[in-house]
């Protein structure tokens, strides 16, 4: 082994700093016999793991990225290189200028060696910093292929303990250099990008939901004629059909229907005519009943069960139980009534919607 070092060299330190083999000389192909195969490790077992907690899912996502991303995604490319005839001094300047700690050496485009910052320190110490590179460079080089997964790269860093690997493409051309720091930066970058994508997706979904809710708004607005008993229940029925189609829970539908029906019949029985407006959105149904008079003389009395001013025809038809307003109030989540003798009555009731199966 033609090391650029001496006895003082701390092996571990050196190993961490340079992509130089600590083993007997072997060719890059032999070093990485699986180089042309898709390494089985890369077949993302992490994806199949059953994960529950949010934290675990986060880890899993990083793991998935490590399997998905390739060395070529993380490496620095093109690498800063030198030639065998350059001096170690010029390498020292290169390292300083580019803030790097290892320089691959190319002869006619072929990777022939590597010099690490440790080699430079040792050269300064040994007084041969002005020697040509070829005299001291490490010639036993472990390389990675640009198509390797990052998980494979991490495994190689663990296995060899080096601080960097030169990266070759399928034609054995040096295309980059990779350090553990490059992998971290690459992962962080991708995680950030995915997070941004997720946030953008979330925002887009929220916008769609908002548009949906707007589109979900249905207004049923109908005139109600005084004495028109034949039409009683029509508005209520239309409202119920919408609510049923939306999967609203039966008891919620029923409450809304009773309010609309009682409000409708109130206008038919007691008023000179009026209008019902039912507004349904994603969260609630609002029933507004406005009539043009004559108004309720005593609203408190009208709210009492059993009190009715219904005429004989209405009573004959089963109305006039004096339960209309109390029924509405009981069924509503929000209820208000305003009435003035001579001008009319405005009633508003709201029911909050729950889908069938929603937890109450």
């Amino acid at each position: 082994m033609h090391h650029a070092g001496n006895g003082k060299r701390v092996k571990h330190m050196r190993a961490r700093l340079a992509g130089v083999a600590r083993r007997p000389a072997i060719t890059p192909e032999k070093t990485l016999p699986a180089g042309n195969l898709e390494e089985p490790m890369a077949r993302a077992p992490a994806v199949e793991k059953t994960l529950n907690a949010g934290e675990q899912r986060q880890v899993s996502f990083a793991q998935v990225l490590v399997f998905e991303l390739r060395v070529r995604n993380a490496m620095t490319s093109p690498p800063i290189t030198a030639t065998p005839t350059d001096t170690l001094r010029s390498i020292q300047h290169l390292m300083k200028a580019h803030r790097i700690s290892g320089v691959p050496i190319l002869a006619d485009g072929v990777l022939v060696g590597i010099v690490s910052i440790e080699d430079i320190i040792t050269a300064l110490d040994g007084g041969y910093i002005n020697d040509p590179v070829e005299k001291w460079m490490s010639r036993k080089i472990v390389t990675l292929r640009d198509h390797f997964s990052l998980v494979r790269a991490v495994a190689e860093f663990d296995r060899h303990g080096y601080g960097r690997f030169p990266v070759l493409d399928a034609n054995n051309q040096l295309v980059g250099i990779i350090t553990p720091g490059d992998i971290t930066v690459c992962l962080m970058h991708h995680l950030e990008r995915r997070a941004e994508e997720a946030i953008a997706k979330e925002a887009a979904l929220a916008a769609v939901r908002a548009a949906d809710e707007k589109a979900q708004r249905i207004v049923i607005n109908a005139e109600v004629k005084s004495g028109d008993f034949e039409s009683a229940g029509k508005i209520s029925q239309r409202m119920r059909e919408v609510l049923r189609a939306r999967g609203i829970a039966p008891d919620v539908r029923r409450r809304a229907a009773i309010i609309a029906y009682e409000a409708e019949t109130n206008i038919i029985i007691h008023s000179l005519g009026g209008r019902i407006t039912v507004t349904i959105d994603a969260h609630k149904v609002r029933i507004k009943a406005v009539d043009s008079g004559p108004g309720i003389e005593n609203v408190d009395l009208a709210m009492q069960e059993g009190w009715s001013t219904a005429g004989p025809l209405a009573r004959e038809l089963g109305f006039g139980a004096g339960m209309g307003l109390p029924n509405i109030k009981r069924c509503a989540d929000k209820f208000s009534i305003r009435s003035e003798l001579g001008s009319g009555t405005q009633l508003q009731a709201t029911v909050f919607l729950q889908k069938a199966g929603d937890i109450l």
């Binding site: 008993f229 209520s236 119920r240 029923r254 009773i258 029906y261 038809l317 089963g318």
Partner: protein, 115 residues
Amino acid sequence: MKLKSATKLPSILSAVEASPLTDLTEVELTGCYISDLLSDVLANAQPGVLWVTIHTHRNILSVASMKDIAAILFTCGRKPEAAIIAEAVEKGISLLSTPLSTYETAGKLWKAGLR
């Protein structure tokens, strides 16, 4: 009136000497409610009951469908107009008529086990 044992519509027909005005649904009755005041039915009837009334006006169909009432039994031999019977069929509400009074009907339904 609370249900103790579920009863099917055809089985109570003979008990109250009723004749069906529509095809009778096979649903199980959850009980019975007797009232001639629509708001009272709206307020107090449970879904799935047999509603006994003397009213034959189409408002009963609105009330029945609103409360998911499965069947209406008219007493004192009353029968609604054909148009209302047709509407009931459309809404899936069974209609029956009995010559008995509401009081007699109630007693016989109770005795027949509809509770």
